[in-house]
Symmetry: C2
Subunit: 412 residues, 2 copies
């Protein structure tokens, strides 16, 4: 899914602090940072990495979020606190207890997240010092949202935040804000996608979970930089109810809210791939006409993950054979003589394959246009399997010398 109609959704400034009741802060020292969100007595739910190697803060937060309530999130960068044994869990609890005492918030309402290098001891003196400063700096302002976003950066080259105002179907308005970090599904030395989302809508933890899963499936789960999955991934949504807008009717979440949350998450996800390690071009791959939603998703992700296709994009080569082959090995239902493939960028569009017949061959106008399209830095691929009703979109980037450079030159 891709949001193509933005009716009832308006981008607004302020990041997570666009939402009333949310205080934020972030403090850095060299490669380390500690960022905090305070959002008292929110309902909350989260989705986590499916990697079987899990960082201590993931194990901790998975446990405490089961009660559906959250008041504070502490996130640190520079160290993933992963593969750190019992000492790692103790360090995680130390960060929780420190904030708990300073802010008088029960530990089981405090979530944690970490991003950085795996298998290294947490530098607790530095981190507790940063945490103390961030607690003091907690504040409701655009600046604080940005400070939070900066505090969790690792190999990110830009901070990433976004917010929307959604007009519900009953014409009431709610806000949703989010910050994220990450430059690959797992970044090079530093790992991890972290996303923190807040809303002033009224939602139970269960409703949040349902809505968040849909949004994540159509955004963070549809981006690929290198296909590696982190040990520390997390996306949390907190709903503090300050808008007093109840957006659940007959057990169904307001469709505009869901659309707004999907859109917010897609914007944040796209910020991540645009900032993908070494990326020089932004890719969007839509597969339609698939027999099932899973087929559409898998085919789309297979193309966006193909090292061969990603290299071709870097080289400006409209190599549709690599697109077709990636769909072919994705395992989805398809028929070679039904498939159509086209690409577009800005005001240019051309068919590469139509109903199984190649149109972009040497000397054809389609190939000339395709080559022009490939010179642009935002490229859209549309593959129509023509055998069903389902559609999915994924986002990614090209594979460049710089990806290899960034990931090769770091030394432990």
């Amino acid at each position: 899914m891709k949001i193509r109609n933005l009716e009832n959704i308006k981008a607004i400034s302020g990041g997570i602090c666009s939402v009333e009741g949310v205080d934020a802060s972030g403090t850095r020292y060299g490669k380390y940072g500690v960022s905090i969100i305070s959002n008292l007595d929110s309902n909350a739910s989260a989705v986590f990495t499916s990697n079987k190697i899990k960082a201590a803060p993931i194990e901790y937060t998975e446990k405490i979020i089961k009660n559906g309530k959250l008041s504070l999130i502490i996130a640190n960068s520079g160290n993933a606190n992963c593969f750190t044994g019992k000492e790692g869990m103790d360090d995680c609890l130390k960060m929780v207890d420190f904030a708990s005492q300073k802010l008088n918030i029960p530990p089981n309402l405090i979530a944690t997240a970490s991003t950085g290098v795996i298998g290294r001891k947490m530098p607790m003196d530095i981190l507790l010092n940063l945490e103390e400063k961030s607690i003091k700096n907690l504040n409701h302002s655009s600046k604080s949202s940005t400070a939070f976003a900066k505090g969790i950066m690792t190999t990110d080259t830009v901070s990433k935040e976004f917010a929307v105002e959604v007009t519900l179907t009953n014409n009431q308005k709610v806000k949703i804000g989010g910050v994220t970090k990450g430059t690959g599904m797992i970044a090079p030395n530093m790992g991890t996608m972290l996303s923190f989302l807040v809303t002033d809508a009224k939602l139970s933890a269960e409703e949040i979970n349902k809505s968040l899963k849909i949004a994540v499936d159509n955004s963070f789960n549809m981006i690929v930089v290198d296909g590696d999955e982190s040990t520390n991934d997390i996306a949390i949504l907190m709903a503090n109810g300050k808008s007093n807008c109840n957006l659940v009717d007959n057990g169904k979440i307001d469709s505009n809210f869901q659309k707004g949350l999907n859109y917010l998450c897609q914007e944040l996800a796209q910020m991540m791939v645009r900032d993908g390690e070494g990326a020089s071009k932004f890719l969007e791959v839509t597969v339609k006409g698939a027999k099932s939603e899973n087929d559409a998703r898998n085919a789309s992700k297979s193309v966006i993950s193909s090292s061969l296709f990603k290299s071709a994009v870097f080289g400006g080569d409209p190599n549709w054979g690599r697109i077709a082959a990636a769909i072919g090995y994705s395992g989805v239902s398809m028929k070679q003589d039904k498939i159509s493939i086209s690409i577009k960028s800005k005001d240019l569009f051309t068919d590469l394959v139509k109903d199984g017949i190649p149109l972009a061959f040497d000397g054809s106008e389609n190939l000339t246009i395709a080559e022009k399209i490939m010179e642009n830095n935002e490229i859209e691929v549309i593959a129509d399997l023509n055998i069903g009703e389902f559609e999915a979109t994924s986002w990614g980037c090209d594979l460049t010398y710089d990806y290899v450079k960034i990931n090769a030159e770091y030394t432990t």
Copy 2:
């Protein structure tokens, strides 16, 4: 599986022509080549790409090989004859008919294979001309085996052939020879892994199929260059029975024969990754102590496919966190506090993680040794999950600037 004990197996020269009854030839013109194996009245079976986009020669050979008999194989390079519609199938049949008439062999005993660019018309005048020359050149000699291997090269930088003599459990001797081409699971502009294997052992088509599947699963299916799967992959084994050695006893294939075939295929597979696009280092990843064979295979292939780990190897970084993370997201059963990871190269060996405890940290001797190991160009990773009995080995190469260069610079 990896063959660690070469008892009863001896490497011999001669490639496919080490086997009596096998004539071969190969002729090239620029980027095009046509290679032929004549091996009259052999029993034969093959395994094919699982890509749903299939080249015409794959569709054709899948059909005719069902009768279990083969006398001739025609393989061309330079054009994959894939996504070429009805015309592509006609071109495939033209190549078959041409040889059928010249050599007086029924068309249904002639297999075909193609490798090269996808979606382009076959240059039939060039190819039929090459085919005519190759038919004339058919010959039983080491030189002809090499000519065959050279005729099917695309982005390969070296030709690839190997042969073994196996002493069966009853002390009789049989030979198995093979040639292969391929520099990635799919090469950049040129695709495809092609492997042609011959033996003088006596085997039925059904027995060949069984034995070939085991060998392929433990060799060609365990190598990864870029994770892309070709539309044209094929491995064929022909058994002409000239040795008069029946190696099936009570329905079971002689274990030494199977070991010899596995070894031959592993050698050929390793030649492919050593010649992997842009590869500067050769990697072997063994996962042991897994709960099932599938788990061992999947975990091993997940590590060898990880762009992050491959980049780290290129950079000489013993980044074991990336190894652990790749096992973690492979979906296999594992426990973080049980896993051990070590690396070796030449006479150097060190533990990186032992029973879940990291040993290669800043300042440790293990890290110093690990860094020395990473300077070598053949590196072995051993990960022990310590929860079961199963083991698997995969082979691959690092991810380098040159991989990106080779795959980006080609323009259709």
